[in-house]
Each structure stands twice: as C-alpha cells, then as structure tokens.
C-alpha cells in the first residue's frame, strides 16, 4: 500500500478561530494508481495533498506512507522521505526564478546528493522527454506557462519518485497546454508512477481511475472511473 490514512485530522488555530481543514479522513491509495481529488474551494483538498505529500503534519490520526507510520515524523525525516519518493507539480509552477531550466530540474538531484555526472545524464534525459531540452539555459521568466509547467513536471520526475502530487496542475494553463500536461501525467502513470491530483475540472479528473469528492474536510464519496 502506498498511502493509508486513518481518522486523519488537520486543525488550524488563529487567535480567535479554529478551523477544521481535514476531519477524520480515511484513505487508501495503492501503488500505480491515478487518483483525482475534487471539491469546492476550502473543502480541504489542498490540505490533504500537503499532508499526504509530507509537507504538512496532521493534528490527529494516522498516516502510513509505504507502510511507515509518518504521522509524527519531524521535518528532517519527512524531507528525507519526500525527496526520495515524492515529486510535486503546483498550479503556479513554483520554479525558482534565479535558476535556469537546467538548474531547476537538477535541484532535486542536488539535494539527493547525486554525483554530478549522473545528474547531467538524468537531467538531460528528462528535459528531452518533456521536449524542453532546447530551452535548458532559459530562465522561467522567458518561458510560456505551458513550458514552465513542463519544466515543473520534469523536476518532479527527475528523481523517479514513487508518487507525483499535482495541485491544480492545469489551473494556470489554457486548454491546449493543460491537455498536454494531463497527457504527460497519464503517460507517467502508465509507466508505474502513482499520481494524486487535486482538480476543479471534472474533465481532468476523468484522466484518473478514481475520483474522490470532498466537502468541509471530509471525504464525501468516491467514484471509480474507467480510463
């Protein structure tokens, strides 16, 4: 089992207000699945993605990732798991402006302490795969939205992670480029990479094999989709 949560909760407290972002979420995702999470704004889907992606911690409940109970892991341990196993694709791409395309894609390998020669080989391969190799020395500001997202995907997969977490990956793209990105994600999934995607778009959700609907921090329903 890739992901298993039990009674997962996430609370946010400010000086005056306590908000329940996740409320007793039970979820199972197996390796190789493509799961879409849908719901209205503020339903907790991005929060769920963040917790599953080990970039946020649950307030209560259990979370097992690849069989390991990571619920109470400190950031250091979560970072170690994260960089080995999880790739992220964000709505606003989140490329680093002062690094060029090559350097952005190389970054996960640098943090994983991959030797320089191996890094060169892997980055080159993944840039070519994303058909963005010809822009390797360009900076994000010099790329279109679609190109930036392809770079982001390249960065997400360069370390060959078990899981890709995509938060509204086509939110800032037009339909043509959005479709392009979705096709890439499907292809990756077919090659064995698990994909967990948050989306507002039913059309995009249809690319997955499962769609989970959330409301007010809870999982309302789940639907199997044939692809």
């Amino acid at each position: 089992m890739l992901i298993e949560t039990e009674n997962l909760k996430k609370l946010y407290r400010t000086e005056l207000v306590e908000t329940t972002a996740l409320d007793a979420v039970d979820l199972r995702v197996e390796e190789g699945q493509f799961v879409s999470i849908m719901g209205p704004s503020g339903c907790g889907k991005s929060t769920l993605l963040h917790v599953l992606g080990l970039i946020d911690t649950p307030s209560d409940g259990k979370y097992r990732f690849l069989g390991e109970d990571v619920s109470m892991y400190p950031e250091r341990k979560r970072a170690a798991l994260r960089k080995k196993n999880i790739g992220f694709v964000f709505q606003s791409f989140n490329l680093i402006d002062e690094l060029n395309v090559y350097e952005n894609v190389e970054l996960p390998l640098v943090y994983a302490k991959t030797p320089a020669s191996e890094r060169q080989e892997k980055v080159g391969a993944v840039l070519d795969r994303m058909d963005i190799g010809h822009r390797r020395y360009h900076f994000p500001a010099q790329l279109s939205g679609g190109q930036q997202q392809r770079v982001a995907v390249a960065r997400a997969i360069v370390n060959q992670p078990h899981l890709i977490l995509a938060d509204e990956p086509t939110g800032n793209l037009d339909s043509e480029h959005g479709n392009e990105v979705m096709q890439i994600l499907v292809k990756l999934n077919e090659e064995g990479t698990s994909v967990l995607m948050v989306t507002h778009s039913a059309e995009n959700a249809a690319f997955g094999e499962r769609t989970i609907r959330m409301l007010d921090g809870k999982i309302l329903a789940e639907q199997k989709v044939g692809r």
């Binding site: 992606g53 946020d56 970072a79 680093i96």
Partner: protein
C-alpha cells in the same frame, strides 16, 4: 560553492537597488574601519619597529625631597653608565639629552644662507644605532657619532639644506659658531615613535662628559638631565630590576639622600609601553587611551549600523524569497544548505563592499586631509604590507558572516508550506518587531554620536571663550637668542616703545601653556618655619603683569626702580597662598635655588597650563638683566622671549616692522614670532581632532542609517501600495500618506533619543573629567540631536514614498 556564488551574483543583478544600498552602506563602513584601523594600528604599535624593542627599557625615576614627590622621565646623566658598570645583566645603555636650551625655540643650524630651527635635537651616545633601529641612508652607524662635532640627521633635515644630494661630510654651524659635520643620514622615523628626532649630536664633548670620580658621580645622581634606556636580556622581567634599584640606591645615593631629607627610586618602562602607559613629568607627549577607545568605538558603531541595515533589508524582503525557500525545502534542501546560500550572499556583498571600501580609502587619502582628522599621516600600502590586505579580507568576511547570520537563520527557519503559502501573522509580527529593534539601535547609535559631537563642540567653545586670567589677544612672543642680543633688550624695548602699534613690551623666560620651571623651594609657613614645596615658576621681566593683563590681588608688581627685586622679590598666585594657608602672604620668605627673597605681590589665579589642569601654586621672579655669570660656552644658547601687546590694526605692518628691528639687533637668526593665542590653541589639538573625527563619523553613521531607512521605506511602500491606494480613494492627502508611513519610525527615533542621551551623557562626562574646567552639559543638545535625526529620517522616508503617495489611486489599486 560555485552554485551559491552564481546564484548570489544573479540575485544581486536582479535586485540592483537593494544591492546598491547594501554595498554602499557596507563599503562606507568598511572604509571607515580601514581608516580607523590604520590609525589604531599605528597607535598601538608605537616603537615596535625597533628590532630590540622587547629588550629596551626606559629608566623612570621618582624624587621625594622633604615630602615633595616628582616622578620624572628624565634621569641622572651618569645613571646608565653606573648601572652598566655594576650590573653585568645590563647588556647596553644609551642616553638622550635634549639639545634645546630654551623652552620655546629649537636648535638653530646654518649652512651658508640657510638657517632653520629644529625642535627635536638630542645629544646621544655613539651606540644609539646599535640599540635603536634606523634605516640608514648614508654613513656608517658604527662610527658616525664617535667623534664630538658629528651629527646624524634625518632625511627631512638633509633635504631641507641639500636637496637630494648626499649630505655626508657637509658642515653646519651651531649658534655658538661651533661646527657640526654630518656623518650619517637616516630615513625619517615612523610617526609611531615616542621619541622623535631630526638631529642627533654626538655627546662626546667636554661639557657633556660624566665625572669619573665616585663622589662627583654620586652628587650628579641627584640631578636629572637625560632619558636613559637600558638593553636587558631577552624576556627580562622589569620587576627584577627593583632589586637592582634598591641595591644601587643604598650604595650610591642613600647617604646623600639622608642629608637632603630625600629619597629616590627608579623602575623600568618597557619601550613599547611608554607612549600610552607613562605619565611622567618632562616626558615626550604621550597618547590618551580614552581617544583610542573612542576611535575603536566609532569604528564598531559604524560597522554595526551598516550590518543592521543589511539584516533589516534582508529580513524585510524575506517574503520575496519565501517561495524559493519553500520550494527548495519541499525538494529536500536541508537547513544548512539554505543557510549556506544566504550567508554566502551576505559574504559576497561584504567582499564587494570590501573592494569598494579600499577604493574609497585610496581616494579619500589622496583627496581629503585625513591627517588633520586623525593627527598623523596614513597610507594604505596593500602590496608592501600584505597583512593589511589580509586584515581587510578578514574584516569583510567577518562582516558578511555577522550580517548574514540572522537573515540566514530567519529565512531558513520556515516550514516548507509556510514559506510557500505565506507566513502566519504572528511570525510576521515578530519579524516586524525585530526590525523595529534594529532601527531603534541604529538611531540610538546615531543620536548618541551626534549628541557627543555637539557636547564636545560646546566644550571646545567654552575653552576658547573662557577667560584664562590673562590677555592673549594681540599678544605675541619673539624668541631672542644669544646673550649678546639679550643684554641689549633695554635698547630694543626703547626702540619699540616709541611705536604707536606697540602697546606694551616685556620679557619672559617661558610662556603660559608651555613648559614652566619646576623646582623645589623652601617656603616660610605661618609659624615661621621653612617647608619644602615643589612649585611651578617663571622668571619674567618688568611690566609682565601689565602687558599680559594679569591682575594683582595684593602687594605690587616688580619695579624697575628697585634693583633688589631681582633675586629677592617673588610674586605668587592665590593658589600658592591657599596651599600654604597664609594669613598674610606679603613678606613671607621663599628660597628658590640660591636666591632667597620675600613675597612682594599676589596675583589672581590664571591658567598658566591648559584647562585640563586646575590652577596650581605658581610663582614669578624677576629675570636678571646681567648675564655676566653665564659661562662663555653657554652664552650663544641663552634664549629669552620678548613679549609684546600690539594694536589690533595694521598687524601685518607691525609684524614687518618688528622683523626689521629685531634683524638689526640679531642679523644671524631667522625671525621667530608666534601669537600667544595660536600657541595656546595647540594645547587642545588632540581634543579638536577627536571632535572633528567624531563629527565626520557621526555624519557617516546617520547617512548609513538613512540608506537603510531608504531601502526599508521603499520596501514598505511597495508592500503597502494597495493600502495607500485605498486610503487615497477615501481622501488621504500625499502628506498624510507620508506621515502614516513615517510615523512608526519617528516614534522609534524619539524612543532612541532617551537611551542615546543617557549614553552620550555618560561618555562625555567621562571625557570632561579630563578637564579641570568644563562647560555645563546643556540638555537642549539632546533635543537638537533628536530633532536632527527625526528630520533626516522623515526626509528620507518622504523622499522614497513621495511618488507613490502622489500617484493616482487607481494605479495603486491595479498594482496587485
């Protein structure tokens, strides 16, 4: 490392204004530290250029005659010789005796038509070049001063007479007509030498020979004449000398001491400690540790202000880096690598600032009279002194590490998600509060330094305006040399008295503000018994009191008609009367040297020394007119001051007239004239230098602080653009917007003023403790310093925010 550098350079290029502000502030601060560092290094390494400096000690000594204690830098002329003979552990000794006979004029040396005065001239032993390190340009140091009549001279001296030519073998004429032959030329001594000289005479002359006879030697031990330096073994402990001192005294001085009702003791001063550690009479001008601390504090403050700027700007702009930090953390970056990146950026800024700082220093040293600011020449010689370059590099690295540490800790501390989506308001508030603390600190420093400058300036004005108890305006002194000229003073006075520009003429041996005599005197107390007292004294001519505007409190002035006044009449000051506790001072008996006389007058206290010291007991006696009993050999060297009160109009004409008249009586010596008020001004040169230095650096502090404010204001205005737009829509004027942006900072300035005032008050109070007479500390000074800082801060913020405050509201609202 290469990646960090690449990224740092790219960030620098992308954020040029922010980079420029930081580099400007840091480079000015580093340049200031370089200048102050060069000065401090020079001050702290006095005399260390002598290869033997660890082995050389000066003998200091203290006489206690009947309870009157005097600690002196000069010691008996025969002391070094006797010590070396008796104690084999003393490897060598050398003595210096000043060749100056008067106390205001230097030694005159003539070559053909060129005659100049030299203040720093000594008779020395021939082995001086074995003991002290000199860069010899011409001549043989082993033999140069063996023969009497030889002189070794500085490069400046040689150049003055002979240009670039080799001066070896050239002959100059002394005041008494004797010849001095140049046998060695040495490079000018470094500025950080406690005993400076341009002329070294061989002391192998009959009148300078020390006696061989034991009895005569022991008598000579009770007179002082020379600076005595001993060369001791490596790692010698000066405390071990105390046993030598005790033994020597017992064997050679105790018996005579008992008959004089006196004792003597000596101790060793390490050569490198003399300039700052010694406070003896008849010493060379020493350093003041307070000023060293002041300069060091100024350097630290400026650096602190610049580093605070960096920290403030880096943390304020943190939101712009948040996304990058968040993404990196999500991708697996450890905190250490993020910290390394941010510290690396700070170090890069600091290294660039270091280079720019060096350029600023080179330009400043070339174009600005830095010497008048710090009191000595400074130079930056990176190729000749690689250690200086290494020190600057180290300073830049330390500045970078120090400035970059907090921003690195702060920026790398965020959790990945927090960095990506935005800080919590609580964390944001903490960051804002920390920045306020930093701005507060900057203004505490700036206001304190401004207030200190204003208070020092007030003290210097107080000194300038304070009456000294005598008149100094339009009073001049002319040095007359040679007994032949001095014996014709009555004729000179007659010639001058007829001139309407000459309001008064008198004579004196010394002048206020310069060295006076200091002697033990036997003074009659109220019970009629004589008691010993060491007293400052000055021989003066007729009408001295009138010419110098000194008021009598009792009795009378010296009278021309009463020749008995010479040698038997004394005039004392009120402090003298108070010290003796006299009920009736007139008629009291005083014996000074061989002259016994009575008090004929009491003058109101006047400051015959600088205002650093309170008025001490002082006496005046009549200058003898007859110089018949002066030995022939000394007659050419006798000096006296002709003191005149001249009219305030046509001063140039008067001075030319005086030069002409004096030249008639003395065609040999170049005319030497000085205005007494100029001469007294020199007593406060170091205070004025410190004040100018502090003023300059106060200005730099405020400038750097405002650079930071400028950057912060730019950032804050940008962040609040939407808010500004909304306020304008609701009716706020540009002025109200600017005040809204500046209000927080002005509150900080006011708060900083309280703390700064306390600090400045304490620091200046400490400095003023060095003056016997001090200006009261005016509280308005602190108000003025605060107002100045507030105006400058407001203007800086206004300058930056003006455009945004004046823009159309819609532009601001569209900004997002």
């Amino acid at each position: 490392m290469g990646t960090y550098l690449k990224i740092a350079l790219r960030n620098l290029y992308r954020e040029k204004r922010y980079a420029a502000i930081n580099i400007a502030g840091l480079s000015i601060a580093i340049a200031s530290c370089i200048v102050l560092g060069l000065y401090l290094y020079g001050e702290l390494t006095y005399d260390r250029h002598h290869a033997n400096h660890r082995k050389i000690f000066r003998v200091a000594n203290e006489f206690n005659i009947g309870g009157a204690v005097n600690a002196l830098a000069v010691s008996p002329s025969v002391l070094g010789e006797m010590l070396k003979e008796a104690y084999p552990e003393i490897e060598d000794y050398v003595t210096f005796q000043t060749a100056l006979q008067g106390t205001t004029g230097g030694v005159m040396l003539r070559h053909d038509r060129d005659a100049y005065y030299w203040d720093d001239a000594y008779w020395v032993d021939a082995n001086v070049f074995d003991v002290f390190t000199h860069e010899v340009l011409y001549g043989d140091p082993k033999t140069a001063l063996v023969n009497g009549g030889s002189i070794a001279v500085s490069e400046t001296f040689a150049r003055r007479y002979f240009g670039d030519a080799n001066a070896i073998g050239e002959t100059l004429v002394n005041d008494n007509g004797s010849l001095a032959r140049i046998t060695l030329v040495f490079a000018d001594l470094p500025p950080n030498t406690h005993l400076k000289y341009d002329v070294l005479y061989s002391n192998n002359l009959p009148f300078l020979q020390t006696p061989d006879n034991t009895t005569m030697r022991r008598q000579t031990l009770w007179n002082v004449a020379r600076y005595t330096y001993l060369v001791m073994p490596e790692n010698y402990d000066p405390d071990d000398y105390l046993a030598i001192n005790a033994e020597f005294y017992e064997e050679n001085m105790a018996e005579l001491g008992r008959s004089l009702n006196g004792t003597w003791r000596s101790w060793l001063e390490p050569l490198a400690d003399i300039h700052y550690g010694s406070s003896l009479e008849f010493d060379r001008p020493g350093g003041n540790r307070f000023y060293l601390y002041g300069f060091a504090a100024v350097a630290v403050f400026i650096l602190l202000v610049a580093c605070i700027n960096y920290v403030n700007l880096a943390t304020a702009r943190a939101t712009k880096r948040a996304r990058s930090v968040g993404v990196r953390k999500i991708l697996g970056a450890g905190r250490a690598s993020l910290m390394a990146q941010f510290i690396g950026e700070a170090v890069l800024f600091a290294l660039i600032a270091g280079i720019v700082g060096i350029v600023i220093v080179e330009v400043a040293l070339a174009l600005v009279p830095v010497e008048s600011l710090v009191g000595k020449p400074l130079s930056l010689n990176l190729t000749g002194q690689p250690l200086v370059g290494a020190a600057i590099l180290a300073l830049s690295l330390i500045v970078g590490l120090f400035a970059g540490l907090y921003p690195a800790l702060y920026l790398s501390s965020w959790a990945p998600l927090t960095a990506l989506v935005g800080r919590s308001s609580r964390a944001g508030k903490a960051s804002v509060r920390f920045r306020q603390v930093l701005v507060f600190t900057q203004f505490v420093i700036s206001i304190a330094v401004i207030a200190a400058t204003l208070l020092m300036s007030a003290q210097m004005r107080f000194i300038a305006d304070r009456g000294l108890g005598f008149e100094q305006e339009n009073r001049i002194m002319i040095t007359l040399r040679g007994a032949g000229v001095i014996e014709r003073i009555p004729t000179i006075e007659n010639r001058l008295s007829g001139d309407p520009h000459i309001l008064g003429v008198t004579t004196s041996q010394f002048m206020m503000g310069h060295t006076t005599g200091l002697q033990a005197a036997r003074v009659e107390n109220n019970t009629g018994t004589q008691q010993l007292m060491t007293v400052s004294n000055m021989p003066v001519g007729d009408d001295f009191l009138e010419v110098m505007g000194i008021s009598l409190a009792a009795g009378r002035d010296f009278s021309r008609r009463l020749l008995t006044d010479i040698g038997t009449g004394y005039i004392v000051n009120e402090a003298f009367v108070r010290t003796m506790g006299w009920d009736e001072p007139l008629g009291k008996r005083i014996t000074l040297g061989r002259n016994s006389g009575r008090v004929i007058g009491v003058v109101k206290d006047f400051n015959f020394k600088s205002l650093h010291t309170a008025v001490e007991p002082f006496l005046m006696y009549r200058l003898p007119e007859n110089l018949d009993d002066v030995q022939e050999i000394f007659r050419p060297f006798i000096q006296r001051l002709l003191v005149l009160n001249i009219a305030g109009e046509d001063i140039g004409l008067t001075l030319r007239m005086l030069e002409g008249i004096i030249a008639e009586f003395d065609p040999t010596h170049p005319f030497e004239l000085e205005f007494i008020d100029d001469s007294l001004d020199e007593l406060y040169t170091s205070e004025r230098q410190l004040m100018r230095l502090i003023a300059v650096f106060a200005g730099l502090c405020i400038f750097i602080a405002c650079l930071g404010l400028f950057g912060l204001a730019a950032f804050t205005t940008e962040q609040r653009t939407k808010e500004i737009g909304i306020r304008k829509v609701l009716g706020a004027s540009a002025g109200e917007i600017i005040m809204m942006l500046a209000k927080g900072t002005l509150v900080l300035v006011l708060a900083a003023a309280f703390v700064a005032s306390g600090i400045a008050y304490l620091a200046i109070d400490e400095w003023l403790a060095g003056f016997a007479y001090r200006a009261p500390i005016n509280p308005l000074v602190f108000v003025l310093a605060t107002a100045l800082a507030a105006v400058v801060a407001y203007a800086t913020i206004a300058l930056q925010s003006y455009n945004t405050a004046r823009a159309d509201p819609v532009d601001a609202l569209r900004y997002e």
